[in-house]
Each structure stands twice: as C-alpha cells, then as structure tokens.
Subunit: 124 residues, 2 copies
C-alpha cells in the first residue's frame, strides 16, 4: 500500500470528516476503462466462451452491430495490451486467428462476476 499522496494516488481527508480517506487506484481505473471500452467487453466475452482460436469473421458475426473497422481497432488494442494473441498461418491463403493469452483468460473471473450481476439486475 502506497502512502497517501504517492505517485498516481489521490488521498482525501476532508476537514469536517477527517476519517474519510479514499484512494482511487490508477491500475484499476486503467483496467475498467480498457475492458469497458465500447465493444471490448463483448469481444472478450465471445473469445472467453470459445474453445481455441477464432477467425476475424467469426468474432465479427458473434458481436452484432460492430463494424469491421472498429473490430479491427479493438483487436489491435487488445493485442497491444497482451490480452489477445494474433496468429497468421503459413498456409496459402494465410489464415489469421485470434486467441486470448493467459493474461486475457485471467479476466474471466471478473467478467463472469459482472455477467452474474447483469443477469440478476438488468431485466428486459
């Protein structure tokens, strides 16, 4: 635990409520905005429920209303964060497939908990 006021953390103790010290964690903030970025959660959900790798077109078909351009952008972001691995076969024509890395698969507990919450509270 870093001391209050250390790099990247903000601690607050208001004058009238000196016991109120809260911190907002930059790692958590980064993670929640990464996973929650438009369409990223849905893409991760689809990859998480797949045994093995998926082709671009398979992901595209599994996430409705998502353009190929935006899907391509999201896959590059997930690859850059080490969450998805992109593999190109040495066959002709080349076949491009995507799979979650170990780091990506370890998002499953968080996403499963969120799924359980959604199923309980977000009723049609």
């Amino acid at each position: 635990m870093s001391p209050p006021g250390s790099r990247g953390k903000v601690a607050v103790a208001t004058l009238d409520r000196p016991e109120a010290t809260h911190t907002c964690c930059p790692h958590f903030h980064q993670a929640v905005e990464l996973v929650g970025k438009r369409w990223t959660g849905a893409i991760l959900y689809v990859l998480m429920h797949q045994r093995g790798s998926m082709r671009f077109s398979e992901i595209a078909h599994s996430v409705p209303d998502l353009s190929d351009r935006l899907l391509s952008e999201r896959m590059k972001e997930l690859e850059a964060h080490g969450i998805v691995e992109r593999r190109v076969s040495d066959t002709a024509p080349a076949r491009v497939e995507y799979e979650l890395t170990a780091r990506g698969r370890e998002l499953a507990p968080a996403l499963n908990e969120l799924k359980a919450w959604a199923d309980r509270y977000l009723i049609d």
Copy 2:
C-alpha cells in the same frame, strides 16, 4: 440458458467450423459498458471503499481529473440505474449525499476481481 437464436442473442455457426457457436449476451454487454463508461468505474471504486455515504465534493476530490460537470452526469446515470441513492437532508443548508444501493454494492465481487487482475498485470 436461452436457446441459440432467441431474442437478443446472436448465434453463429460458420460453414467450415460448424461446432463454433458463440453468443454475445446483451445483459452482459450493457453491464460492461455501464461500469466501463469513462470515470464510472473509478466513481464506483471510491463509493465501494467508503463506509456510509459521501458528499459530492468528497467523491470529486477522490477521483482526480474528473470535472464536476461530468461527475454530476455520471451520478445521475448511476442513480437512474438504481446503483446509487441520492439523499438530501432536511437541514439548512441542505446536504446532498450519495451511497451505493444494494444493487450497487453487489458489483463489488466483479470490481474486486478486476482490481486483482489490474494489480497483477498493469505494472507501472
């Protein structure tokens, strides 16, 4: 579990990989984009780690770089989704405080799992 093709679900079985059937759940999608909306995760994190209610200014100080205008917008969204309760005291001057509802507190397992993932993988 809804059958493939039921309302709000999209199922895909590609011709060359007929076993590949994936669905992308609208409830989950809605939840992940709600929690991951810019600043919302950080606000929930701060409220989750607070015993009892928080004043607007306390939340504002605990989430750096977030404008009052945007914080106000986010609090209204969270209130509309039944995740946060807004209370106004009958004192003068009136005191406005925010607290997570039961529904909001039940996001804790998902957010804690995401925090654990972030602490493991998002290193400075």
